[in-house]
Symmetry: C2
Subunit: 226 residues, 2 copies
């Protein structure tokens, strides 16, 4: 909790932003369980802040589909289920395919270098340090798309990424990065992107997602995760 808190939340002084990032992290990592009631007062004490920043943060998380607001009855974390997971997976494949094609179409040297750098940073951290790895993993994936001149699309991708990663955290140890050679998959995507081969990069990217995704959907379907 320390590292990511510092990375994301400690930077700016706004209590709302701090609460937003902390809560998002708590939900994405599963510290706050799916469907859990989010009592304002409890969170207020836990994050050591007032009710207003909490409420505002929860409002923001609502739009990220991580929190549900029940009118006059407060907030709770979003429920999880197979259908939801499959939807996220399908949307991610469709939207990232789109974004990646655009990104590569606009490719520049500067972008290429940013992607290589992001990849290197991800490679460098131990996958055992999950929180840290996830941070750089997301940074790498988003850097691939970053060159698509389409802020709304990128925001959608980022949101879907977080929703997806939440399921990965929920699966927890059931899912093991080491099983497959993730590293090689990333390298393949990077190479294709650098080579400006959008079709190849996209198909590798989507394969990358589906591989983990289908396995996870299986776990969910078996009721191994709730």
């Amino acid at each position: 909790m320390n590292l990511v808190d510092k990375d994301f939340a400690g930077l700016d002084g706004s209590a709302t932003q701090r609460a937003y990032h902390t809560l998002r992290h708590l939900i994405v990592t599963g510290d706050l369980k799916p469907g859990e009631k989010l009592k304002i007062d409890g969170l207020r004490q836990r994050l050591d802040t007032g009710a207003s920043p909490i409420r505002e943060a929860l409002s923001l998380l609502t739009s990220d589909h991580l929190v549900e607001r029940i009118d006059q009855r407060g907030f709770r974390t979003a429920q999880v289920n197979v259908e939801n997971f499959r939807e996220i997976l399908a949307l991610r494949c469709a939207l990232e395919d789109m974004a990646l094609h655009q990104s590569i179409a606009n490719a520049t040297l500067a972008w290429e270098e940013k992607v290589v750098l992001a990849h290197h940073r991800m490679q460098r951290v131990q996958p055992s340090d999950l929180d840290r790895f996830e941070t750089f993993h997301k940074a790498f994936h988003m850097s691939l798309l970053d060159n698509a001149a389409s802020p709304i699309l990128l925001k959608f991708c980022s949101q879907l990424y977080d929703l997806n990663i939440r399921y990965r955290y929920l699966a927890g140890k059931a899912l093991n990065y080491q099983r497959r050679d993730i590293s090689e998959e990333h390298q393949g995507i990077l190479d294709a992107a650098v080579a400006r081969d959008a079709t190849e990069a996209s198909s590798r990217l989507i394969g990358h997602y589906r591989m983990t995704g289908d396995y996870l959907a299986g776990l969910l379907g078996d009721g191994a995760i709730t």
Copy 2:
């Protein structure tokens, strides 16, 4: 302002929801101009409510891309420009195409009837009553997609719809529905959907969007709208 306020905002007692719907309507219709500073106190008086509901509503609108939050410096309505408009148009075409295909793939009699009903209601109102027409126009378009079992996708479509309609309001009288036979276009989309012809329906739908869209983008490019 009366009708839509009653339709959307008067329904539930929550001050936050009320503020959210009212503000969204004010922004979408252009009563609050693009880039305009949104002073909490001003809005508080205008909507006759406290600061907390206003702030929460603005937070929600931020996630709809209708409001920008500048940390420690308050809120302002989202800026408009051609690039933004083109992005919205492109995303709408891509996402609605996807949603429409899914919706038709899941077609049922009940859905078919809802679409027909929504179309009828839209036909029935005078396009001169803009607010009212827009309400039913959106209802019709969303009903087409409604059968896609993909809540997140539908939410994206709905958001993009609102962003797009905002530009239409901004164009105002420059844009005239009567110019083209909009009615016939809607009928064509409806017919294709009812016939379960996803390809035809989608191509008509997208044509429908691009027609208005390209014209509007032209206006924007000429600096006719700011």
